[in-house]
Symmetry: C2
Subunit: 311 residues, 2 copies
Amino acid sequence: MSEILAIGSYTETDMAGLREMGARVIASLDAMRDLPEAERGDVRAVAYKGHHPFGAEEMALLPALGVIANYGVGYDAIDVGAADAAGVRVTNTPDVLNDDVADLAVAMLLMQQRRMRQGDAHVRSGAWAGGESFALNRKVSGRRAGVMGLGRIGRDIADRLAAFKMEMHYHSRSEKQTPGWRYHADPVDLAASVDYLVVALVGGPETENYVSREVIEALGPEGVLINISRGSTVDEAALLEALETGRLGGAGLDVFNGEPKVDPRFHALDNVVLQPHQGSGTQETRAAMGQLQRDNVAAFLAGKALPTPVN
Amino acid sequence: MSEILAIGSYTETDMAGLREMGARVIASLDAMRDLPEAERGDVRAVAYKGHHPFGAEEMALLPALGVIANYGVGYDAIDVGAADAAGVRVTNTPDVLNDDVADLAVAMLLMQQRRMRQGDAHVRSGAWAGGESFALNRKVSGRRAGVMGLGRIGRDIADRLAAFKMEMHYHSRSEKQTPGWRYHADPVDLAASVDYLVVALVGGPETENYVSREVIEALGPEGVLINISRGSTVDEAALLEALETGRLGGAGLDVFNGEPKVDPRFHALDNVVLQPHQGSGTQETRAAMGQLQRDNVAAFLAGKALPTPVN
C-alpha cells in the first residue's frame, strides 16, 4: 500500500531515496499490471525509469494517478497526449544531464576521427612495438560541424565544438540567438554544408527518421554522423547501408533502434564508435537525475509547483 | 651528390616534395654514417625525422652542414648545444600541430573517464544486447584540470578544457596571461589541486621525470594523468606502479619511454588509454609539417631568414 510506485531498474542510492519517501519499487510495467487492483488504486505518483511505452492503457490501471515523474530528459516512452486526457502531469529531468551527453558527443567524434579504439589496440597488441606504423587520420579542429536540434543539449555540444575552432552550423525548428553560427532551415542543406553532423533532436513520432537517407547521403563519404538523441531519429537501414558501402565516412552512436538489441551489422563496422546508451551514465549525473525525479514526486504530493513539468 | 640530405621515414607526399628540391632521401642516421665521405661532404642541409640522438658526432660527419630542419615541434633528439658550437642552425615545425595534439589530449581524457573503449566492446561483444548493464562512470565537465607546461600546445589544450566548464590550473616556468586560471609555482602543488593533469612540457634532459613519483602521488587515486609530450617527462616506473596499485586513478598516454617498445605492463591495464604517438598524426598536419620543414631548408639554402628557427 503506497501512493508512490517506482517502476524500473534503480541504483541502490535511488532505491534508498525512493523507499525513504515511502515508495514501492517494482521492476517493470508488467509487474505493475500484476499488482492487485486495490494496490494499483492507491497509486497517486509514478516514478518511471524505462523505455517501454507508458500509454492510456497503463494509466487506466492506476485510477488515482496524478503524476508520472520520468527519469531522463527524453520522455518519448510516455504518451503525453493520453496523460493530458487523463489529467495526469508528466515531469522529466532536463538540464542536469546536458554536460555528460555533450561530453560524450564530442568524445565520440574525436575517437572516431582519430581512430582511437584502433590506436589503443595497435599499442596493446604489440603491433606498434613490432614496427607496424599506424595510419594517419583526419584533423578534427577547424572543420565544419552541424548540430541537428539546437535545444539545451545541442547548444552545449555546439559550445564545446566551437572551442575546437570549428565553423558552426545548425538546424532547428526556428533560428536561435548564436555567436554567428549559420542556420539551415532544411536538414539536407545542413548535412551538405558540414563535415560532422551531431544529432540532438528530441525523440518521438515527430522526429522519426528525421535524419533520412537524403540527409545521410548529403553528409557523404567524408562525413561523420554522431547520434546521442534516440535511435528513432535516424533512418537506421539507410545508415547501415551507407556505412557499409562507404557512402558515409563514419559514425559515433550512443543510441540505436531496439536497443540494447543492436543490429549486429554494426558490430562488424570499423568506421563506427559504438556506446551502450551511456550519454548520461555518470555517477554524478545519475544521482542528480534521481534526485530531480524524487523532487518532482514530492512536489506533486505536497501540492507544490512541479520543478520540471512537461505538460 | 646532393646538398640536401633527408633522413627518416617520410610519406610519399613528403618524399616527392623533398626529391623535387633535389634532396637525397635515406632511412636513418646509420645509413648516413655509411655514405661515402665525399657525399657527406656535399651536405649543407639535413631534413631530419626521427628520435635517435643527432649530436656532435653526427654533425662532424657532415663538415659543410649549415642547418638541421627537424620534422616535429620537439627537437630533443638534436643536440642544440653541439649545433651552436658547430655553427649549425636548427629549425622545427611548431604551431602547425598544436590543434591535433590538443585534440588528442582532450579525447584521451574523455575516453578514459567515460570508459569508451570498454563501452564500445560492451556493444560489439553482444554483452549489452544480452542484458548486461554498463557501469556508471565519472563526469568530466566541471572538474578541475591542470596543465603542466603552458606553452603553445598547453594553451590550446587549456582553451579546449575550459569549454568543458573546468576549473583551470597550470604550472609553467613563469606566470602567464590567462583568463583567471590559477598558477602553481610547484608541480606537486598543481597535481594536488586538480582531478586531471595534462603534461605538455618540452622534452629533453631538463624535464626528465619532471612528473615525479611525488606529482603522481599528489594526483591520487581519483586523478587522471594525460601525457602528449614525451615519455621522458614522466617517471614511468612510478606511473606503472601507481596505476597497478590504484594509487593513481588512470592515464591517457600517447608517448612512452623507449617507444615504440612500450612496457608490456601497460597492455594489461584497464584504466589507461594507450595511443601510438599519434598526437600530430593526421594527414592535414603531417602535410603541413613536411611543408614547413622543406620551407626551412629552402630558406637556408637561399640565404633567407628561417621561418621557424630554434637557435
